[in-house]
Symmetry: C2
Amino acid sequence: METDNAAPCERFSPEVLGFMQLAIDQAKLALDSLEVPVGCVIVEGGNVIAAGRNRTNETRNATRHAEMEALDVLLVQWQRSGFSAAEVAQKFSVCSFYVTCEPCIMCAAALSIIGVKEVYYGCANDKFGGCGSILSLNSSSSEACIRSVSELAFSAHCLMDVGSY
Amino acid sequence: METDNAAPCERFSPEVLGFMQLAIDQAKLALDSLEVPVGCVIVEGGNVIAAGRNRTNETRNATRHAEMEALDVLLVQWQRSGFSAAEVAQKFSVCSFYVTCEPCIMCAAALSIIGVKEVYYGCANDKFGGCGSILSLNSSSSEACIRSVSELAFSAHCLMDVGSY
């Protein structure tokens, strides 16, 4: 509930909220499969090009977070298409990730390494978050930023600013 | 070259050095394949149970570091064997990773999430290292430690202390 004394926070377009809804749909699928409910979609040029959901229980692999699942969909496609490493990097550089929960440190580091454009996340991850809560791996001013300082870092936006409720 | 005024550093057993040599062999295979030469072996009960090498160029996937390759070998095996999530966690908790270069922040976070016993690494990773150089994701005293504070963190040992040369 927004109040008059709400802290200033970002406002988001219907398009952004629509993509986040699709990420939430993925999270619901995860919940239906008895997984921790986190979902992700990847958007390029206004179109969803991949989706993923947390599959850590199903795979017995604690690293199979929603972001890793979604980006692997693209990596498999692009590998099959014969794209070069430079072409893959170029394609990721225009991709936006929508995740229901702030990427953890591992995922934020992975997104930094592959060089995505931006991340929108639904809520903060106060225990493990790598995009502002515990570390800011997205920020070029962070000591722990993975990307070269000559490159742009990725921007991160939190849709649900709990402080304003 | 060790000198009289060398800084005190850990001494390692022939067994540890032997496993590191096997990791170096993996790194050489990576170099032969025109990859950044990083190799890894995973040891359980004195036996090598998996090996991996950097395959980022071949896969066009910048996250396919040697540690991720090696641990995926086990995860595929253990998934096929029908192990439960708890059994997989138990098995990783007694595994030692030998990596030629300090795990990056992403890999150190992944090792923390899956809960390995320990990591031996050949040299520090001054740009991206997650086990002491930039962050200490292995340490339970680190704010960024991924594992629950009720659990043990993993220990990390650097074989080549450049400061002593």
